[in-house]
Structure formats: C-alpha cells, structure tokens
C-alpha cells in the first residue's frame, strides 16, 4: 500500500486535530522510509519481478516491517511527542503502527512477526488480485479522505485545502497504479 497510508494519516489528523500533521504523515510512511534506508544500506533486500504483481518481491523486510519492529518504531516515534501530551503521542504512535495494519492485507506473506522469525503473514491481495488491489486501496482512500474532508469542514481548524490534499493522495495512487507504476 502506498497512497492509502496517506489517507490513513489524514483520517488520523481528522480524529485528533491537535496532532501535528507532518508527524502523522511522516509516521504513516515511517516503516517504508526505514525500508528505503535499510535497502540502500544492504540490511534489507528487495528484488524487481517484472510481470509479477506488484512488480517487486520484498525478500527480507523484517527490521522495518515485522509486527514486533512496527510496535517498536511506533513506540519510539511516539516517545518524541510525549511532552506534547499522551493523546498526541498515542496518535503519532498509532500512525506508525497503522502502516503494518494496512500492509497486512496487501503483502504476500512477507511480514514477519519479529526479525528473522520463521512465521510471515500477509493476505496477499497484491498477488491474488493484480488489478483488484488498486480498487480496494482506492476504496480505503475514499473512506479516509471523506472522513478528513467532513471533519475539516465541520471543525475549521485544519484542512484549509482539504480537497486539494485528497486530490494529491488520489494522484499518488494513480501514479502507483498497475498501469503506471515505475516497478510493475
């Protein structure tokens, strides 16, 4: 999942408007930021699989994406916001952990329970529904963005350009589609 994480971030913002937007948006993508760094350092492994959805195989992502490490990264990230209050810390921590929750249906059994665990989970919609996953993620985006826009209009303390923010998320989803993605 890619753009769906940002929709989740906007939805968390709508639920907890006092939380800093940048922290929530960085939080929802933190596991993949770490993944990118770890891959460049050779700590984690990925291989490109042209013609096999989603176009790449995540061969070893235990340090960034395992269940246990997701909780660790979430707690660590939340600790930076503890001084702003428990509610904001929990919101930022949940933003990080939401990444694991949303990746689980998409990933084809490459999410370890902990680093080097023999047990890997993932529903695998990327593989079983090579096109359908994109529409399912679009549904998640629609739900998250609708909640964000409705709350933004009701409260008026955030989402000054809520529709434009949602348009950017949809654009990111289009760019990441099975038809346009760089790795496909």
């Amino acid at each position: 999942m890619y753009a769906g994480h940002y929709a989740a971030g906007l939805a968390i913002k709508a639920k907890q408007p006092a939380a800093p937007t940048w922290a929530l948006l960085l939080g929802v993508g933190l596991l993949d930021v770490l993944f990118g760094i770890f891959v460049m350092l050779g700590i984690e492994r990925v291989s490109v699989t042209p013609g096999i959805s989603p176009g790449f195989s995540l061969d070893f992502i235990d340090w960034s994406h395992s269940l246990a490490m997701s909780i660790v990264w979430a707690a660590l990230f939340a600790s930076f916001f503890w001084r702003r209050g428990r509610v904001i810390a929990l919101a930022t921590g949940f933003a990080v952990f939401s990444h694991f929750l949303l990746d689980w249906p998409m990933h084809p059994g490459d999410l370890a329970l902990w680093p080097h665990s023999s047990i890997h989970i993932g529903l695998g919609l990327w593989r079983s529904l090579p096109i359908g996953w994109w529409w399912i993620e679009l549904g998640c985006i629609a739900a998250g963005c609708t909640y964000y826009v409705v709350r933004a209009r009701r409260l008026g303390t955030f989402g000054g350009r809520a529709l434009w923010a949602c348009a950017v998320v949809v654009l990111l989803h289009v760019v990441n589609s099975p038809w346009l993605a760089v790795a496909k």
């Binding site: 940002y6 993949d32 930021v33 990118g36 790449f56 955030f158 000054g160 990111l172």
Partner: protein, 31 residues
C-alpha cells in the same frame, strides 16, 4: 532497477508528499 535505486525511490516516495500535504492541511486565515 537496482536494489539501491528501489530503496531510494521508496525513501523519496514516502518523504516528498509530507510537506506538500502538511501545507495543504494548514487552516486558512480568516479575514
């Protein structure tokens, strides 16, 4: 695409939209 390139693409993809979306989220000033 190399693994390094994939990692870099992932890193950029998950950082670049953050300031854009955060800016769009800012409340408009009331006149």
């Amino acid at each position: 695409m190399s693994s390094f390139g994939f990692g870099l693409l992932c890193l950029i993809s998950f950082t670049l939209p953050v300031p854009i979306l955060a800016w769009l989220d800012r409340a408009r000033r009331k006149r």
